[in-house]
């Protein structure tokens, strides 16, 4: 395969490219889904191919194909050069990638049990057992249990001398129960919203979640939600978010606005831009002093954990917010150079047929000092919410509205009645500046978001978000009506 890759790089240079990189990717997935005791899906998928990205006269071109032959490599490399020439017809400043990248080496996701090596029957048995446990609860309309496994082998090389090879393994899955009564439809999921927690690692992760052991609780909560009191409407109170919901809050209101390509307008036509414009760097109180946010691609289990990004930049950790102050972006080589910084390795492509674009790696809220019980006891009046049901945010990442599967009233420092149809809304910097307490490392979990959409043509990224429950003051609650 290396020969094929070098052939593309040589040809690109001989056709006038001042820079080129090549990725050969083989991606295997296995999905099992059980619904109401019946196997709804048992699927194995494989896709492989090569993508060639070239820079000609300071403008980009990219071509890709599933055929890994010399003839096809020559064809797509020539196509990429032709496309770059076309880009040059409507171009501005020439692209500057900054310092050369010459990374070498190999990386493999650490794991104990390779999920692809296990018999299908073993994996199915876990899901069936969870389904059976959910079925013991009266009043559940639909039960669902699933697992989703990924093994991706990727080779990367560029004309600057980089050559890396890595194998990333992901294990995901979860359960969900839905209850229906009258006009009410309620769901509960575990371990994560939409019945899908996902991590880099092996089958041991899924076993640690104990889906069967949590199944009856999840089903019972779905049924109980049908008759729970509705979330109060249009009140302002203290809000404690559970880790799973907070992970998505971090993703949407911290991760996306710190993507430097959004700031520079590259995503304006689709996902939008960002309120975190460059004059705010090192100069803007994004959150309260307890808020520390980090981008990393090295923490165990994170869906953004790897050896190198898709420009060959080594995995690393970099601050985004320190003690509330906005200090860093998610960057590519091109955008970092424009800002006068170095890339922190956030260029990721969803497959061989897509260009790398700036994506979240693991964007995490660092743990604080509180025990959850103490935090609740310290809250006179408020609402606890967890597990996302609905998420929406504006194109600059200011105004958001989230709904959660479940909530609980907090009165005089105690968790009280269950609440259904919980929603809250806010403006990103106001919200994060109202954060006054974050739970400690004992409560901190690396959550997975395997469905982050961005780019045209569309790409789906898998991102990690570490979070522990946290409290926010004066939040507007209940906007369903």
């Amino acid at each position: 395969m290396k020969e094929l890759i070098m052939r593309a790089l040589d040809l690109a240079q001989s056709r006038g490219a001042q820079y080129a990189d090549v990725r050969v990717v083989n991606n295997r997935t296995e999905s099992i889904s059980v619904k109401d005791g019946i196997v709804e899906e048992l699927n194995s998928s494989e896709t492989e191919g090569v993508g060639v990205r070239v820079l000609v006269n300071g403008a980009w071109g990219f071509a890709s194909s599933r055929n890994l032959t010399n003839e096809e490599i020559d064809h797509i490399t020539s196509q990429a050069v032709e496309i770059a020439h076309a880009s040059g017809l409507v171009s501005g400043e020439k692209v500057d990638l900054g310092p050369k990248v010459t990374s070498q080496g190999s990386y493999q996701t650490p794991l104990k049990i390779d999920p692809f090596s296990l018999p299908l029957e073993d994996k199915l048995a876990v899901l069936m057992k969870a389904d059976t446990e959910m079925s013991k609860v009266q009043g559940v309309r639909t039960r669902q249990a699933n697992t989703s496994l990924v093994k991706e082998h990727k080779q990367f090389a560029n004309t600057e001398g980089a050559y890396t090879e890595q194998t990333i393994v992901e294990t995901g899955g979860g359960i969900q129960a839905m209850a229906v009564g009258g006009n009410e439809i309620q769901v509960r999921s575990y371990p994560n919203a939409f019945a899908r927690q996902q991590v880099t690692g092996g089958w041991e992760a899924l076993l640690s979640w104990d889906l069967p052991g949590n199944a009856q609780r999840v089903a019972s909560e779905a049924v109980a939600l049908l008759t729970a009191d509705p979330c109060p409407s249009n009140i302002t109170t203290s809000l404690i978010l559970g880790g799973s919901q907070l992970a998505l809050q971090v993703h949407e209101s911290c991760g996306h606005p710190t993507e430097l390509d959004r700031v520079y307008g590259s995503e304006a036509a689709y996902a939008g831009t960002s309120f975190l414009t460059t004059e705010k760097l090192d100069n803007f109180h994004y959150g309260s002093p307890v808020v520390n946010l980090t981008a990393d691609s090295v923490r165990p289990l994170g869906l953004g954990t790897f050896g190198w990004d898709d420009e060959g930049i080594p995995a690393q950790s970099s601050p985004l917010v320190r003690e509330g102050l906005f200090v860093g972006y998610l960057m590519s080589r091109e955008t970092a150079t424009k800002l006068g910084r170095y890339s922190n390795g956030c260029m990721r492509a969803s497959g061989w047929n897509r260009i790398p674009i700036i994506r979240m790696v693991n964007v995490s809220l660092e743990p604080g000092t509180w025990k959850l019980d103490d935090l609740i006891a310290d809250t006179e009046d408020g609402i606890y919410m967890d597990s996302n049901r609905s998420w929406s945010i504006d194109d600059k990442r200011y105004n958001f509205q989230f709904g959660t599967e479940i909530g609980y009233e907090i009165k005089q420092g105690k968790m009280g009645r269950m609440l259904r149809n919980c929603t809250y809304t806010g403006i990103t910097p106001e919200f994060w500046n109202s954060c006054d307490a974050i739970c400690n490392a004992d409560h901190w979990v690396m959550w997975g978001t395997p469905n982050c959409g961005k780019g045209q043509p569309g790409q789906t990224a898998h991102t990690g978000h570490g979070a522990a429950p946290a409290r926010f003051r004066n939040v507007k609650i209940g906007v369903l009506k």
């Binding site: 899906e41 171009s91 029957e121 304006a268």
Partner: protein, 447 residues
């Protein structure tokens, strides 16, 4: 790309590997190119060539699936082995109705050679013209122009063999100033049907009119919606309830409402895979011919679309709306939606509005609650205050939380012209008009 004769050879070679076991496959070849621009320059410019075969293998009612884009002998051998192993491991599905038998389907033309052959240079020159217009107005244009072609084959061991070749094209642009933006989009299966420059002018005009927006209080307003916003309403109602599986699971806005007058008499929505004004596809991913299905007729809920699985559960025949094998868990979906146009122009809708908002599009819309299909989202790329029948001022973006069922019950006027838009998920198309709706519920505003 692959000709029908060659496709038959490949499908035969795969089905023969199943050695007498029932099996069903989809085979797709496609090429897709896209030129993306931002800040008035091309910054991303890509092309891809791929193929994929997906196989469902049956041992009685045990079902296993596998897919690959490796179409060499070894790749096909592995495909069949994976699907067979998955079937062996899977318990029986007692509800599986079996494979469909061959049925005649109506071929429909959706192929345009100039679209398949459209070059990167042509795309660059087309978007360059829009960028130039934006530069001349001191504005910032971004967007994408794409073209592609695909061949779809569905075949099974009962003799089904269906083949459809199609092209597609799409242009969309957002034009921004420091405090305003405008957007326009059009989809077609003939690239020459895209009025790229005119769309660019529309977006520029909206951005120019949007300078110095005012902040208004949230609350209930009459809204005049461009067809981009209507597309969001129809698409959301599709995702959250037009398929039979959603009804069976009790999570559709249609539940317990079939036959009822739920929406305005001016609202009619149907699905038609054979209408060349949409993006035609004459059969579904089980090889079943597509039928035209009335979903809402003059405000009355008529019923959902079916695939064979959901249909068998409810004693109904398939309407030809099975989704791709890998997405079968979603259940059947309408892929070629139409909403009946009315007799009003946008200008007439505005002129007849005492106080309201004229809205170009919605952004980041998500389901808050399935009953009534309650959706929250933001306005984007053009919101204007209407007072006494006149547009008086641009307005800062607003958040709404609105039951889309109620929205279509509150329709007061329907636009004369329907426009085709193809969504990013699964190539689902809608052909929809502008709407005037009373009582739209805005719940917040942004910075």
């Amino acid at each position: 790309m692959i000709e029908e004769k060659e496709a038959r050879k490949i499908t035969d070679a795969i089905l023969q590997r199943c050695k007498g076991n029932p099996a069903e496959l989809t085979l797709m070849y496609y090429e897709a190119s896209l030129t993306r621009f931002a800040n008035n320059i091309i910054h991303q410019n890509v092309t891809e060539r791929d193929a994929e075969v997906t196989l469902r293998y049956f041992i009685g009612k045990q079902i296993g699936t596998a897919s690959t884009n490796r179409l060499d002998q070894a790749g096909l051998d592995e495909l069949v082995e994976h699907a067979k192993s998955n079937a062996k491991a899977s318990p029986e599905d007692p509800n599986y109705p079996g494979l469909p038998e061959p049925e005649a389907y109506q071929c429909v033309t959706a192929w345009d050679q100039p679209t398949a052959d459209y070059t990167p240079e042509k795309r660059a020159r087309a978007v360059g013209a829009v960028c130039q217009m934006a530069v001349e107005k001191g504005l910032n244009a971004s967007g994408a122009l794409s073209n592609g072609s695909s061949d779809l084959v569905v075949a099974n061991t009962h003799g089904v063999f269906t083949y459809h070749r199609t092209t597609n094209a799409d242009f969309q642009t957002v034009v921004m100033s420091d405090d305003s933006s405008g957007r326009a989009q059009e989809s077609a299966w003939k690239v020459d049907d895209l009025a790229v420059e005119a769309l660019g002018k529309d977006a520029i005009e909206t951005a120019v009119r949007g300078h110095n927006p005012i902040k208004i209080d949230p609350g209930e307003y009459t809204v005049v919606l461009e067809h981009y916003a209507t597309d969001d309403i129809v698409s959301s109602l599709n995702f959250y309830g037009m398929g039979a599986q959603a009804l069976q699971e009790g999570r559709s806005w249609m539940n317990d409402r079939i036959g009822q007058q739920l929406m305005s008499i001016m609202v009619s929505i149907w699905d038609d895979g054979l209408d060349v004004r949409g993006t035609p596809l004459p059969f579904d991913f089980e090889g079943v011919p597509k039928q035209r299905v009335d979903i809402v007729k003059q405000g009355v809920v008529m019923g959902p679309v079916y695939d064979r699985y959901s249909g068998a559960k409810m004693g109904k025949p398939s309407t030809g709306h099975a989704t791709p094998i890998n997405f079968r868990g979603f259940g059947p979906l309408a892929l070629n939606l139409f909403m009946a146009p009315g007799d009003a122009t946008i200008e007439e809708m505005i002129a007849s509005t005492k106080k309201g908002l004229y809205i170009n599009r919605f952004h980041y819309t998500r389901l808050v609650h399935p009953h009534d299909c309650i959706i929250t989202g933001m306005t984007r790329d053009g919101v204007f205050l209407i007072e006494d029948g006149q547009v008086t001022s641009p307005v800062k973006n607003l958040r709404y939380t609105m039951p889309y069922v109620k929205a279509l019950a509150n329709v007061e006027a329907v636009g004369k012209a329907a426009h085709l838009l193809v969504g990013e998920f699964g190539g689902i198309s809608t052909s929809v008009p502008a709407l005037k709706i009373n009582g739209w519920n805005f719940t917040g505003s942004t910075v």
